[in-house]
Assembly symmetry: C2
Homo-oligomer: 461 residues x 2
């Protein structure tokens, strides 16, 4: 059965690169979640949109489930192939197709890494401003699938803001050129927007037209130590009103401990429960003066106990490593991850409630928090005790996540800020989206993918 | 039949304000297009979302078509009720519901005017940056329906960028709270984005959470006279690279003639075929210096023949009136309007082709152009000769629009940049969207509005 399906695929798409070795199946069958055993049927590595379209048409006829696959750095299981799916990897479709200086558009294939996009933009003296730690491995197609956010959202918004056009093979096999790079286009439903954040369940993104912008002005990076949680919000309010923020990230002392143990350098003497890495425009002396005044005001108010300003790029990189190194430093411990969002105004009340909840729910576990205060986005990583079996740990975390989801629902938040729903959060989708919304989403999915071949089981049960 | 349906509606929604007088039917049955005779069944003026929901449910059961209605300033016939529909006017739902300074969100009912939103934002020391001439009459619900653009898109983007949440009664009668003001939310399809630009065919927008931003820095306004069409693109490139543009609008000598005849003041001596109103940040002396240098360079290159810089707010308003007064000055002549978009880089070749096409197609008619070069958006208004019957004029214009649509298709443009498709452009939708896209759009429509009661005949035939 399996062999006849693959033989049929090979016959239809002559020259298609297809991997079936066990090591390849394992490599391409999982993402960074590591919770599901990879078990794909095979791995297809198409070289162009026509091959992708042929694969999708074959999958419709033969009823084969497909898992669109980019850099597999996802944290929601969206790119896991654990049930005999064909992995459709965009890895070989990684070229820059064009650049237009007048439109300031970079046209790329979906399998290009975020880092390569940054480099290509820089070559043209411009900036693609979406950025986060996985930049070297994650791909634009995957960024589109989850509407990736990251560390510059407070200034530049999420991936959605930077997509001027998408080339997509819909689940029904049709090749779509959505919006084609236009600034203004009020001619019917914006299916480009619908595709962004749809986690590979409506279509396979094969290409994108990315907006570029002017490079950011020179920035200064500051590390702050804060004595308590409420100070986080106060300092954010103070800094936002005085400085042009490019980033405002926070993490806890527990996060700091892990990242220091993983090789980062201590940059501040104070030992406090909360830390902030802030980056802001520093074009002129008066900008630096404004930052100093804001810092001093924070100290006077008792919100800041210590701080350091990077004196050069190397120091700035060292401060950033304290924040950006957290995920990597925790990875060996296989943490359970929550990625939640609230309105910024809802955060203080929610933070207090959540802190009490987590203390009760995880008395013997380490809980590592960090995130993006300016976007209302918190990452909560729970580390398993050394002596607890993974299944027991996961079951316990799932019970707590239900409580967290209930709290989020009360506070009007979201169970996924930027990781997506995938497999990991699908049981909690109903905490963020109403039954009526989910019914409409299922209906839309059926329109795009009538046979349900694209990423089945992801997003919806 | 009619009476029994309305009696049923009144019984179900006690207290619903319902208008049935002929003058009201005429007033609420048409928009600024004036091409279709208004003939609604009646006009409902609900006072809250619950009443809207009850009306939509009644319409589903009784198979009554609804026309969602805001300020009816639309130019595509999207709010025309010419076939016995019930007009569902949001006029009474025009309140500001709340403001949050931390989130910088203004929560409003959909029937509030754009001008009232500007005022409310200003009261809080902030800015809602979407702006255009119809601000005093158009409503936020209508702005969302067409993803309204206007004169600040080059700086601030379209309405889409400023919607943090939408409250919608879907065509199936469900009340949806879409995105609820979150900055980040990767939990399934972004139905808020799908709703924006859907022209009242998927749901009735009853409320919105609008993002506000810092007020724009002080600006300077400049009027330029340009000797030929290619100079438009050159001057745009020059100004964009040197100044922080807030707006870059152009119009022709024919447009100028009409707006002067309509009471605007001549502000420049030169008589040239093209004019530009540019607005740019002027925070400091060096900004004004940069503008002067750019102007001088444009003159040296032969792209600019004359120019004037506003010395105060009254002069700036007078310059702006030359551009913003065009639509009003043409209205008595009932022009045929095209509102097209291209990639900016595609404009020079398209402009030459279009100019030849229009000269051939409209030899005896006045053609008035203006628009937003920085967004790739051209408005083309054709004025009927005094002695031509309207039907003949329209038939002729429709034939030319087909040629224009074909040219747009070749150049990768859109038949509607910001007016929407409505009734006016639905025959040309296939020039901008592929058959596969239109089929998906129809499918999505059926999911949201299974009985096809919302704005039938708009957008699709």
């Amino acid at each position: 059965m399996t062999e006849s399906r693959l033989a049929d695929l090979t016959a239809r798409v002559p020259g298609l690169r297809l991997l079936t070795e066990l090591t390849d199946l394992i490599h391409y069958g999982r993402d960074w979640t590591r919770r599901w055993g990879p078990a794909p049927l095979a791995v297809a590595l198409p070289s162009d949109a026509a091959e992708v379209q042929a694969i999708v048409r074959w999958a419709n006829e033969r009823q084969v489930a497909l898992v669109p696959s980019g850099g597999r750095t996802g944290l929601s299981g969206g790119a896991v192939a654990a049930r005999g799916e064909l992995v459709l990897s965009l890895q070989r479709m990684n070229r820059v197709l064009g650049f237009d200086a007048t439109d300031r558009l970079l046209e790329v294939e979906a399998g290009i890494t975020l880092h390569a996009v940054h480099e290509a933009a820089r070559e043209h003296g411009l900036l693609y401003p979406v950025d986060f730690g996985a930049r070297g491995s994650c791909t634009i197609g995957g960024n589109v699938a989850t509407n990736a956010g990251g560390i510059r959202v407070v200034r530049h918004g999420t991936t959605r803001e930077w997509i001027a056009g998408l080339t997509v093979v819909a689940g029904n096999g049709e090749l779509l050129e959505l919006n084609r790079g236009l600034v203004k286009n009020s001619s019917g439903y914006d299916l480009r927007q619908l595709m962004i954040g749809s986690e590979g369940t409506l279509g396979v993104v094969v290409g994108a037209q990315l907006k570029l912008t002017d490079p950011s002005p020179p920035a200064q990076t500051m590390l702050l130590a804060l004595p308590h949680m409420d100070a986080l919000m106060e300092v954010f309010g103070l800094f936002r009103s005085r400085l042009k923020l490019q980033a405002f990230e926070f993490f806890t002392d527990v996060a700091l401990k892990h990242v220091l143990a993983h090789g980062a350098q201590r940059a501040i003497d104070a030992s406090e429960p909360y830390y902030v890495v802030a980056e802001y425009d520093a074009l002129e002396d008066r900008d630096e003066q404004a930052a100093l005044l804001a810092f001093e005001e924070g100290v006077r108010e008792g919100w800041i106990s210590d701080g350091v300003i990077a004196q050069n790029e190397a120091q700035a990189a060292a401060l950033w490593r304290l924040r950006e190194g957290i995920t990597e430093s925790l990875a060996p411990r296989k943490p359970y991850k929550n990625d939640i969002a609230l309105r910024i105004s809802a955060m203080p009340a929610f933070l207090h409630e959540m802190q009490a909840l987590l203390a009760r729910a995880y008395p013997q576990m380490e809980v590592v928090w960090f995130g993006h205060i300016g976007d209302g986005n918190l990452h909560i990583n729970v580390l398993p005790p050394e002596d607890m079996a993974q299944a027991e740990f996961l079951a316990h975390c799932e019970r707590v996540t239900r409580l967290l989801a209930d709290a989020l629902q009360r506070h009007g938040g979201s169970i996924s800020a930027e990781h997506g729903i995938g497999l990991v959060k699908r049981a909690y989708l109903d905490s963020t989206r109403s039954a009526a919304e989910i019914a409409l989403m299922r209906g839309v999915r059926t329109v795009f993918d009538p046979h349900g071949i694209l990423n089945p089981g992801k997003l919806f049960e």
